[in-house]
C-alpha cells in the first residue's frame, strides 16, 4: 500500500482563477492510498516545499503528487524536494494543470476543473506504481566543442580555456572574429570595434587549452552528453602560417580579383588574401575557387614571389575526428538580404546601401581613404527585413535602432553640414545607456521621423533618391530627395546553423533561430543534454548580451563537466529475465546498441547496458512478451494512467 500526499497549487491565481483547486484537492483526498491532499498558493515556494517535507515526515508519505505547472518547468525543483526528505526523486509525479489545463482552457472553467481532477487522478495512478529509482553517476570529461568563432565563440572559448577545460573552437572562415570585425564603433560607448575585439582574438591561439580550427566545418556529430563524436573538415589555405610574414608580395602579383566579402563587396580582393586586417590566424589564404593556378597549375605568380616559401599547393583538406563532452553553438547570424525588399531598390539603385556597407564606409572614411561619396542628405530606413510579415520575419532584430542611432551620429559629427534622417517604426532604446545615446543623436541634429517608408524612387539622371513616407506623428505625407539611403537590415539565422543544429536535433523557434530550453530560467540551455547556445544563434542581440550569454553558456557547460561525473536519469530499460525468451527483437530496435543477448546453456536472455541506454523505451514497446520495460514508464503505469483518464 502506498502512502501518497497530493498537493494542488494555485500558482498565485494562474491555476486557481480557472480551476476550482479546493474541489480538485477534495477529489484527490477521496482516492485510495491518498493519505493527505492539500491546496497551496505557491507549491514551488519555500513554504510549499516545506509543507511537503513536513508531511513526508509526519504522515510517513512514500509518494508525492503535485498538481501544478508542467514537469518541464518545476519538475526538477520538486524532485529535489522529495530527495531532500530521503525519498527517491522518482516517487514524485506532477499533474500539469497549468500549461495543459488552466491556460488553454480558460474559457471552460467547469471542464477545466474536471480535467484537472482527471490529470491528478492519472498522476496518482502512476505514483502508486512508482519505484524508488536512484540516479546513476556517469563519468564525464572536460572537452568542449564550440561551433562558430565570432565574439560569442571567442568569449566562450576564453572562459572555458581559462577555467582549465579543453576547447576545440571551429570557425568556417579563415579568421575568427565574425561580424564584429566589420563594425566601425560599438553603441552606446562608441568604442572602436576592432580595437576592443583584436586583443580577445589574439588571446585565442595562445591559450594552451584552446585548439583553434579555422577554415573548418563540422561535418558530422553523433553521440550524447559526455561522448559526442565530431568529424571536422579543415580546408587547405595553401599557405603555411608559420612561414608567412604577411609581406603582401603575393597579393601584388596575384591576377585574380574578386569582390571582398569583408568589405561587403565594396572593394575587391585577390585570390590570395588576408581575410581582414586583424585576422587570427594572421596569415594569407588562397581562395581556391578564384585562384587561376590550382588545377592545372596555370599561374604560380604568388609561389614564385614568396621569399619565405610559405606557399604550398600540395595541401589537402584534412579530416579531424574528436570526442567532446559538451557543445556550445555560436554560429551567429547573417544580415537580411535587402534585395528581398524590392520597393527599396537595393541592388538596383547605386545609392541604396545597407547599414553594414555604411559601417565599412565610416571605417575607411575615418582612415582618410573614403570608398565612395556619401552626399549630404542621408536617410536611414529602419526595420528592413524585421517586423515585416511580407518577408516572413515578424521578429524585431533589436540592434538596428541603436546601430542607426550610432551611424547617424558618427556621420553627423564627422561633417555637421550633413542632413540626416532616420525613418523608424518604433524607436527601441531599451538597453543600458541607450536612451541617453538616442537623446544625444537628437541633440546632434539627427532627425528621427516615425513612419515606415513606402517606396524609394531613383531619378535616373541624377541618381538621387526620393522617399515616400507618412510621418505618423504629424500625419503629413513626406516626399523628400536624398543622396544616399541606408537600409537598417535585420538579423537572420546564419545559413550554416541548420546543418549543425540538425545533427544535434536542436529545436528552432518559429523565427528560425535556435530555441532555448526555457525562455526565462534556461536561456542558454537546449533540450539536448550538454548542448548550449551563445549569442545570436538563439536570437538577435547586441554585443554585451552576446558576451554575457557566451559566459553563461560556458558556465552551464562547466557545471556539467567540473565534477568529473554527472547524474544520469535512471529511466533506462530493464528486462525481466523470467519472461524474456531471447527473441532479440529489442536488440534490433535499440538505436544505441545497448542491448545484447546473453546465452547460458540453452537460455537466451536480453541484457541492457545501462551506460549506453538513453531511455527512449522503444524496446519496451516492441517486446512481444512484456519482459522489456522502461523504468518510470512501465506498461502497467501507462495502463493505470489510461484507466484513470477514461
Amino acid at each position: 500500500m502506498a502512502r501518497i500526499g497530493v498537493y494542488v497549487c494555485h500558482c498565485g491565481g494562474n491555476i486557481s482563477e480557472v480551476i476550482d483547486v479546493k474541489e480538485v484537492a477534495a477529489f484527490a483526498g477521496e482516492k485510495s492510498d491518498v493519505v493527505i491532499a492539500k491546496d497551496e498558493t505557491h507549491m514551488c515556494s519555500d513554504v510549499g516545499q516545506q509543507l511537503i517535507l513536513n508531511d513526508i515526515k509526519e504522515h510517513k508519505l512514500d509518494k508525492v503528487v503535485i498538481a501544478a505547472c508542467s514537469p518541464q518547468f518545476q519538475g526538477a525543483t520538486f524532485m529535489r524536494t522529495v530527495e531532500s526528505a530521503g525519498l527517491s526523486p522518482y516517487v514524485m509525479e506532477m499533474a500539469n494543470i497549468r500549461e495543459q489545463c488552466s491556460w488553454p482552457h480558460f474559457d471552460f472553467p467547469k471542464d477545466a476543473t474536471e480535467k484537472a481532477k482527471d490529470l491528478t487522478d492519472m498522476a496518482i495512478a502512476k505514483a502508486r506504481l512508482d519505484e524508488s529509482l536512484k540516479k546513476k553517476m556517469m563519468p564525464i570529461g572536460k572537452r568542449v566543442l564550440i561551433v562558430g568563432g565570432g565574439i560569442a565563440g571567442i568569449q566562450a572559448a576564453l572562459d572555458l580555456g581559462d577555467a582549465g577545460f579543453k576547447v576545440y573552437l571551429v570557425e568556417k572562415d579563415p579568421s575568427i572574429g565574425g561580424h564584429m570585425t566589420q563594425l566601425s564603433r560599438t553603441f552606446p560607448t562608441e568604442d572602436c570595434a576592432a580595437c576592443i575585439l583584436s586583443p580577445k582574438m589574439a588571446d585565442v591561439p595562445v591559450n594552451p587549452n584552446i585548439e583553434l580550427l579555422t577554415y573548418s566545418e563540422v561535418k558530422n556529430i553523433e553521440g550524447f552528453l559526455g561522448n559526442y563524436e565530431v568529424r571536422i573538415e579543415k580546408k587547405p589555405t595553401y599557405v603555411d602560417p608559420a612561414k608567412c610574414t604577411c609581406c603582401d608580395d603575393c597579393v601584388d602579383v596575384c591576377p585574380a580579383k574578386v569582390p571582398n566579402e569583408y568589405e561587403e563587396g565594396l572593394t575587391t580582393r585577390k585570390a590570395i588574401y588576408l581575410p581582414n586586417p586583424i585576422a587570427v590566424p594572421h596569415s594569407y589564404v588562397i581562395d581556391v575557387e578564384s585562384c587561376l593556378g590550382q588545377v592545372p597549375l596555370a599561374c604560380t605568380k604568388c609561389f614564385d614571389v614568396c621569399e619565405p616559401g610559405a606557399i604550398n599547393y600540395d595541401q589537402y583538406a584534412e579530416e579531424i575526428n574528436i570526442t567532446v563532452d559538451t557543445i556550445i553553438m555560436a554560429t551567429g547570424f547573417e544580415i537580411f538580404d535587402a534585395t528581398q525588399k524590392a520597393v527599396y531598390g537595393f541592388g538596383k539603385y547605386e545609392n541604396v546601401i545597407t547599414a553594414m556597407d555604411m559601417e565599412r564606409l565610416i571605417v575607411h572614411g575615418a582612415e582618410g581613404s573614403p570608398l565612395r561619396a556619401t552626399g549630404n542628405r542621408i536617410a536611414f530606413i529602419q526595420c528592413v527585413g524585421s517586423r515585416d510579415e511580407q518577408v516572413g520575419n515578424e521578429n524585431c532584430s533589436r540592434i538596428c535602432c541603436m546601430y542607426a542611432t550610432k551611424l547617424s551620429q558618427l556621420l553627423k559629427r564627422s561633417d555637421p553640414k550633413r542632413d540626416i534622417y532616420v525613418f523608424y517604426t518604433d524607436l527601441r532604446a531599451y538597453g543600458k545607456g541607450f536612451e541617453e545615446y538616442y537623446k544625444r543623436a537628437q541633440g546632434d541634429g539627427v532627425k528621427f521621423i516615425r513612419g515606415r517608408v513606402a517606396e524609394v524612387i531613383e531619378n535616373s539622371k541624377t541618381k538621387k533618391l526620393t522617399l515616400k513616407v507618412e510621418d505618423t506623428l504629424t500625419r503629413n505625407i513626406i516626399e523628400s530627395e536624398f543622396d544616399l539611403v541606408v537600409l537598417s537590415v535585420g538579423l537572420r539565422p546564419n545559413g550554416g546553423t541548420d546543418k549543425v543544429a540538425n545533427m544535434l536535433r536542436i529545436s528552432k523557434s518559429p523565427d528560425g533561430f535556435l530555441q532555448e530550453a526555457h525562455p526565462k530560467f534556461r536561456p542558454v540551455d537546449t533540450l539536448i543534454e550538454g548542448v548550449f547556445l551563445a549569442g545570436t544563434v538563439q536570437g538577435p542581440k547586441d554585443i554585451p548580451d552576446t558576451v554575457a550569454q557566451a559566459s553563461a553558456a560556458s558556465s552551464r557547460a562547466i557545471r556539467l563537466m567540473n565534477k568529473g561525473e554527472y547524474e544520469a536519469e535512471p529511466i533506462t530499460a530493464t528486462v525481466d529475465e523470467d519472461i524474456c525468451c531471447g527473441c532479440a527483437i529489442c536488440v534490433s530496435t535499440c538505436p544505441y546498441d545497448a542491448i545484447k543477448i546473453e546465452v547460458s546453456g540453452d537460455r537466451r536472455v536480453a541484457e541492457v547496458n545501462e551506460m549506453l541506454c538513453k531511455g527512449c523505451g522503444s524496446c519496451a514497446a516492441a517486446c512481444p512478451s512484456g519482459a522489456s520495460q522502461q523504468n518510470w514508464f512501465k506498461t502497467e503505469q501507462l495502463r493505470a494512467m489510461l484507466s484513470a483518464a477514461l
Binding site: 489545463c101 488553454p104 528552432k508 530555441q515 533540450l527 538513453k614 514508464f633 506498461t635 483518464a645
Partner: protein, 137 residues
C-alpha cells in the same frame, strides 16, 4: 467508465518535442477544447500499439500520437518506428470498422504550440461528429 457525454481523447506526447509544444500552446494561451488528456513518455516509440487499443477499449473516443518531426527525434529514429507501428495499427483498426479519424499520428516541434492546438481541435471536431466508439464484432 465515467460520464460519456463529452468526447474523450488520449494524446500520447513525447517529452522533447510534442509535450513541450503542448506546453507552448498553454503558455501562449491558445484556446483548446478541454476534452483531451495527455500521457507523456520520453519518446513516441515507447507507445506500444496495444496501449492505443487499450485506450479505445477503456472508452476513448479518439487517440492522438504525437512525436518530433521526422529527422528530429531525440533518440535518433524513434519516430520512424512510431510511424510504422501506428500506420500498421490504423490498417488493422480499419478492418474492424473503426473510423480513420479516431487515430491520428502527427509531428510537432517544441516551438509549435499553435500547431498542437490546431491538431487537437481538429481531432475533437472530427470525433465530436462521430460520437463514442462502438465496435461491432
Amino acid at each position: 467508465m465515467k460520464n460519456n457525454s463529452n468526447p474523450k481523447i488520449i494524446v500520447f506526447c513525447c517529452n522533447w518535442c510534442s509535450y513541450a509544444g503542448a506546453d507552448g500552446a498553454g503558455v501562449a494561451r491558445i484556446k483548446i477544447k478541454p476534452y483531451f488528456r495527455i500521457i507523456r513518455t520520453m519518446c513516441s516509440s515507447r507507445i506500444d500499439p496495444e496501449l492505443v487499443l487499450e485506450a479505445f477499449e477503456k472508452g476513448a473516443w479518439g487517440v492522438v500520437v504525437l512525436g518530433c518531426h521526422l529527422g528530429d527525434c531525440h533518440y535518433k529514429n524513434g519516430n520512424y518506428k512510431t510511424l510504422r507501428r501506428i500506420n500498421l495499427l490504423k490498417k488493422t483498426l480499419k478492418q474492424f470498422g473503426i473510423e480513420d479519424e479516431r487515430l491520428r499520428l502527427d509531428w510537432i516541434s517544441a516551438s509549435e504550440g499553435a500547431r498542437f492546438a490546431k491538431i487537437v481541435n481538429e481531432t475533437v471536431d472530427a470525433i465530436e461528429k462521430l460520437g463514442p466508439l462502438e465496435v461491432k464484432m
